[in-house]
Symmetry: C2
Subunit: 439 residues, 2 copies
């Protein structure tokens, strides 16, 4: 009874807005303008002083801007009767009731925290689209069999030495000294309290394996593959595994004027061979794996001194954890050769390993079907960046939908995804939810 | 008359010390122990607190330690009746009278300032050997036809943005803003006054071209060629020309996870090719030329970001200025190729050019003859490092004698030349002076 009157109220609300959604092939379509409005409303929290939407956002987790942005989201969720709550990890969770009883919820959402000097799309698109999907379903009067659960993960971007905070807590992956870490003079435990979390009760934020029907996340690609291909929808095959290595090359520092070429043990000459080897290793076999040397420092670093030591990072990423490990082995083998050839000593040490996750094939198929119904071209691609979805993959089936990032730019005020593309992504999210709701 | 009584006094002094030098093939030999004593006495000025001779020295130019070391040298020169004076550039000059009238002086010496954390041989050996040569000649009662002029150059090591201060002033090469430069909060003009110089009168320190018969400098090699070859005497063929380039490689910084290998414009991959190209260019033709990338910085420098920009230094050195320029042209050509291949922009800018100098062939021959008389093996080699001699080469014929640096180590507390080797170098310096005195 309560449910019927609730839906009646919602239908009335939809009418009051004069909005009865367009329906394509039986699936209601989202309201592009409303999605855009929410993205613009959210963008003011953390906007540079005197700036506009195009100037991006610095809504770093636990900051005043984050607190204000979360309040905005909580208000919108209340308006959608999602009865939002904040769990002890700081995650915002809301739920809409379902017609089927005892069925597992379909969980979907993203995050609203940004990097310092970030854009208004990374995380925001998936978060505002989740609200838009709920709003559209309510307007259409359509009720799903499975409960719909919207989640806005806390502190997805790197903070206090690691990212994916909210989803990590949901799988119980608390890191050593997690709450004692200090950033900008603040302990993480205290930072968490600022957004309504509680480090002492964080275990209550843990979700059980098998506690959701599916986890879905719409996100901007952050790379340029969709944009270059002119394809509006990406079906994520999975989130890559990332192995990071610290490499130290030890040669011998000496006077550049008095040390003949054949008497040198030049750490930078050896390191340069390794930089090129990393590229060769990554491109030497078919596939989408990548290899990067992003940081490299030379000691002593004077124009007239043969470099004595180089420290560098090497990172390999691929959907296949096995491939990532094999590339690391190839690096070690090549490093040993280079060390022999250059009379240097090279140490290759794995500094961190981030296990990726495969997207569920059934969900990938559902996304493809949903896009097809809307006549939207799609392509499959890996996510090279990490996402909360990879944590959820430990608990149940996941899927991710990407929309194009213009020029592949991300983590920058210049990050841009067209509102039309964002709305098409939201349409596909909605369609995928309805596909999966049948299962 | 005065001269005779002066020499008589000196002979008496020699007898008082009980020292009548050993003579080989008509050439008096230096006193190894006395040379060692002076090196050890000098070493206390700037010695690390609580350290010993083996802990090296920090006698940076214009410092308290430099002032004290110069006082020590002035005292020793007074003891040798060299009537030392300090010129407005801070150079210490002393003279012994000659038998021939109207002949040009034979100028010889070195410097006593050191780098921060330097050793007790760079500069000191040539300076103390110059005194030892005078002492030995006085003891032997031998008088040269040409006046002998001992010079201890001020501030040879890099200070206030450039080195070879004293000899540069002697050739009138004052750099723009020379006296206004600030180091450790002190203006160079004021620093110069601390050692008895005067920036306003520095033009008076200038020497005329053709004002000396020969300039000779004994120095430690600072490289490992003599040590590796087991040869005690190096005949310097000249001081290399040094061209320094600033190279900027501009690619495009992007997310390492979301940017496929074939879409990257990785500045570090391009720079690494250039590092290897510098080595190839330097070793690609016969000769002793060297090429070095000593400094390289990567931006933004994060493990998960494709490098957007690399700045690096490239330095080429060779006796032949023409060769050095040709290597620079090869660098530019290779940079253009690498830029095309890697879709980066590479700018190669000459940042400084230090013209080298050839040693006079007659003086090289005199050194060889002097070494031969003493039964000392010698080899010809370039000086890869800069020396005051290269400035003097603009005014007249120069020659340099090298003694071995153990392990080729220099500009380090571990810098070491055996006292025996230093004394053999001093013997050759003395023998060369006598050879040239005949001309």
């Amino acid at each position: 009874m309560h449910r019927r009157s609730f839906l009646g109220a919602l239908a009335a609300l939809g009418s009051a807005r004069g909005a009865s959604p367009l329906v394509t092939d039986g699936v209601p379509r989202v309201n592009t303008e409303r999605l855009r409005r929410r993205l613009e409303e959210l963008s003011v929290f953390g906007r540079p002083p005197g700036g506009s939407f195009a100037d991006g956002v610095s809504r770093t987790a636990f900051s005043d801007a984050d607190v204000a942005g979360r309040e905005y989201v909580l208000g919108e969720m209340r308006g959608l009767r999602l009865a939002p709550r904040v769990d002890p990890a700081g995650n915002i969770l809301g739920r809409s009731e379902a017609s089927g009883s005892g069925l597992l919820p379909i969980l979907f959402g993203s995050h609203i925290d940004s990097v310092r000097g970030g854009g208004n799309f990374d995380g925001d698109v998936g978060s505002m689209a989740a609200l838009e999907v709920v709003a559209t379903l309510q307007e259409s009067g359509r009720r799903t069999r499975h409960p719909l659960e919207v989640v806005i993960w806390a502190a997805e971007e790197s903070n206090f030495g690691s990212g994916l905070h909210g989803s990590r807590m949901a799988v119980g992956q608390i890191e050593p000294g997690e709450w004692e870490r200090v950033q900008d003079g603040v302990r993480k435990g205290d930072a968490l309290r600022r957004i309504g979390g509680d480090p002492e009760r964080v275990a209550e934020a843990r979700r059980a394996a098998g506690s959701f029907h599916a986890y879905l996340e719409l996100h901007v690609e952050q790379g340029g593959m969709l944009d270059r291909a002119g394809v509006p929808i990406g079906i994520v095959e999975g989130i890559v595994t990332i192995d990071d290595y610290d490499v130290t090359v030890r040669g011998f520092a000496n006077h550049a004027g008095t040390t003949p070429m054949d008497a040198r043990r030049d750490a930078l000459v050896a390191a340069s061979q390794l930089v090129l080897a990393v590229r060769q290793i990554a491109t030497g076999e078919a596939g989408k794996q990548v290899g990067t040397v992003g940081r490299l420092t030379v000691s002593p670093g004077a124009p007239n001194v043969v470099p004595g030591e180089v420290r560098m990072t090497v990172e390999f990423r691929d959907l296949s954890g096995e491939t990532v490990r094999r590339l690391g082995e190839a690096l070690k083998a090549r490093a040993a050769e280079v060390a022999r050839e250059t009379a240097t000593a090279i140490e290759v040490r794995l500094s961190s390993r981030h296990e990726g996750a495969r997207a569920d094939p059934t969900i990938q198929g559902a996304i493809e079907k949903a896009a097809g119904r809307l006549g939207l071209q799609c392509m499959r691609l890996p996510s090279g960046a990490g996402h909360d979805a990879q944590m959820m993959a430990r608990l149940g089936p996941i899927g991710m939908i990407f929309v194009p990032s213009v020029g592949g730019v991300s983590h920058s005020p210049r990050e841009l995804s067209r509102f039309e593309d964002c709305a098409r992504g939201a349409d596909v999210l909605l369609g995928t939810i309805l596909e999966l709701d049948e299962l």
